[in-house]
């Protein structure tokens, strides 16, 4: 009998606790993101599609067409890299860089493998398309410009590298 009454009382108390928790939540501001009007604030490391940004200091792309990224890509999403040819000799600079967005799985391996930090995953995430052909992109002629935080982050990648190299030389 005592246990019975105790059961009832603890039951009521715990139910009231639950009610008070939900009541507190009613007065909180909704945390919903109203998507098409409000855009999410993405992290720096967010992996959108691959881009080859223009380095604002050199006013040119940084790629040397060394093919490392194409070799490291697990599913051959980097299809073709063509070098600039001057006076009949190939130069260390990409003329054409063809990337297949359709098969890319955003693993970031190519970005990590690139010794010159020439490519980076951008903030673009709305990538749906009606046509499969349109997913095959040419990155050099795109002349992609990074902005804001992402640009600084990208810059710090190769700036740090030059600093590191200096250290090694010392």
């Amino acid at each position: 009998m005592i246990k019975y009454i105790k059961n009832i009382i603890t039951g009521i108390i715990s139910l009231c606790e639950g009610l008070s928790v939900t009541l507190k939540h009613v007065f909180r501001k909704p945390i919903t993101l109203q998507y098409p009007e409000q855009k999410p604030d993405l992290q720096l490391r967010y992996r959108g599609r691959l881009v080859m940004p223009v380095d604002p200091e050199k006013n040119d792309i940084r790629c040397t067409a060394c093919m490392i990224c194409a070799k490291v890509c697990p599913n051959h999403s980097i299809l073709e890299i063509e070098k600039v040819i001057e006076d009949g000799k190939p130069k260390p600079k990409a003329k054409k860089y063809i990337y297949n967005l359709g098969t890319c799985m955003f693993c970031n391996l190519c970005v990590e493998a690139c010794p010159f930090a020439a490519i980076i995953m951008s903030d673009e995430y709305a990538l749906a398309n009606e046509d499969k052909e349109k997913l095959i992109l040419e990155l050099v002629s795109e002349k992609y410009n990074l902005t804001g935080k992402k640009l600084n982050w990208w810059k710090s990648k190769f700036k740090d590298e030059t600093i590191n190299k200096e250290k090694v030389q010392k």
Binding site: N7, I8, G11, L15, G18, L19, V21, T22, L23, H25, V26, R28, K29, P30, I31, T32, Q34
Partner: protein, 352 residues
């Protein structure tokens, strides 16, 4: 001006005058009176049906908004101003969807079940006092009628579960039958203790017995009010007692096989039942349509929606209870407490 005030505050007098005027007019034509009666009844039915549909539309919208509030989000806010037309859009979608009949269902019963669920909730409106004189029929067995009619809806749920020829539906229907029958008892006991205080089964008399705020039965019967809310919530199969349609166990219980309009009927019935339970709680415990300044009808709606909000609060707080606990809770806890409450009330009424 005077007329508008009368319509709002003394609806019973206006209605009576209108009846008398109509009868006089009718008798000057020398036609039988039953035709006029039928016309009046049809008008009342139409008014109630219109109220029921719009009210259900609004409650669904309101439920979603309240749920969103409890979950720290916005809820529907795209269709119409603040999403007010969302349920209208949903209803239109349900209306134009294909009505699928599964292969081995029991055709007739399958077709009739949604109506069997819906009709009892429609019939209960006969004795719901919306305001002064705004009651379709003030039967002298009012509350008994409510209990008798709401008990019928279990038939619809059970036949929906049976006719679907699907094990989940059948289990859902069976659970619903067990649940409604076991929670009927504490509910009746609570209502009995209210009836001891009011001394009448008539809705009008119950409301008149609570003529001032201090006489509201919620203050005399606080335990009764809580028990009524719990049992009522279980009767209408809403969370935390939504075992008949427990998504995580039974897909969707007895509505698993239903689609389109029939599915809409189940939802209409569910939300109408929610409104009815709240309306009866208002009538029994919160003094019905009585209140200062505002017209009686407005007071009734405000109080009813308060109770609805309370039930939604429960719904979005408590997890669904397990099926053996459901029975234990009813038979071991609610029923004895309701009995003690009834006996205490009887002693109080006798000696004070």
């Amino acid at each position: 001006m005077e007329l508008i005030k009368d319509i709002l505050y003394n609806t019973d007098k206006i209605l009576k005058d209108f009846y008398n005027w109509a009868y006089k007019l009718w008798s000057s034509f020398n036609l039988p009176f039953f035709i006029l009666d039928i016309v009046f009844y049809l008008l009342i039915t139409l008014a109630v049906a219109a109220f029921l549909v719009f009210n259900a539309l609004f409650i669904i919208y309101y439920d979603r908004k309240v749920a969103a509030k409890f979950q720290v989000r916005y809820g529907p806010n795209r269709v119409g101003y603040k999403g007010i037309l969302q349920t209208v859009a949903d209803t239109i979608k349900l209306l134009i969807k294909e009505d699928i009949n599964a292969d081995k269902v029991d055709k007739i019963v399958f077709f009739l079940a949604p109506f069997l669920v819906f009709i009892p909730s429609f019939l209960v409106f006969l004795v719901i006092p919306f305001g002064k004189g705004l009651i379709p029929a003030d039967l002298n067995i009012g509350i008994l009628y409510v209990l008798a009619i709401t008990g019928l809806s279990v038939l619809g749920i059970l036949s929906a579960g049976w006719a679907s020829n699907n094990k989940y539906s059948l289990i859902g229907g069976m659970r619903s039958a067990a649940q409604i029958i076991s929670y009927e008892i504490p509910m009746v006991l609570v209502i009995l203790s209210v009836l001891l205080l009011s001394g009448s089964l008539k809705m009008g008399d119950i409301i008149n017995a609570q003529s001032s705020i201090s006489k509201w039965f919620i203050f005399v019967q606080p335990i009764g009010f809580i028990l009524f809310l719990i049992a009522g919530n279980a009767e209408i199969n809403r969370a935390p007692f939504d075992l008949p349609e427990a998504e995580s166990e039974l897909v969707s219980g007895f509505i698993t096989e239903y689609s389109a309009m029939k599915f809409a009927f189940f939802f209409l019935a569910e939300y109408t039942n929610l409104f009815l339970t709240s309306a009866i709680a208002t009538t029994l415990f919160l003094g019905g349509w009585q209140g200062p300044f505002l017209p009686p009808f407005v007071w009734f709606i405000i109080k009813t929606y308060l109770v609805i909000t309370l039930l939604m609060w429960f719904r979005w707080t408590f997890p669904r209870i397990r099926v053996d606990h459901l029975m234990e809770f009813s038979w071991k806890y609610l029923t004895p407490i309701a009995f003690v409450n009834l006996i205490a009330t009887a002693i109080l009424v006798k000696f004070i």
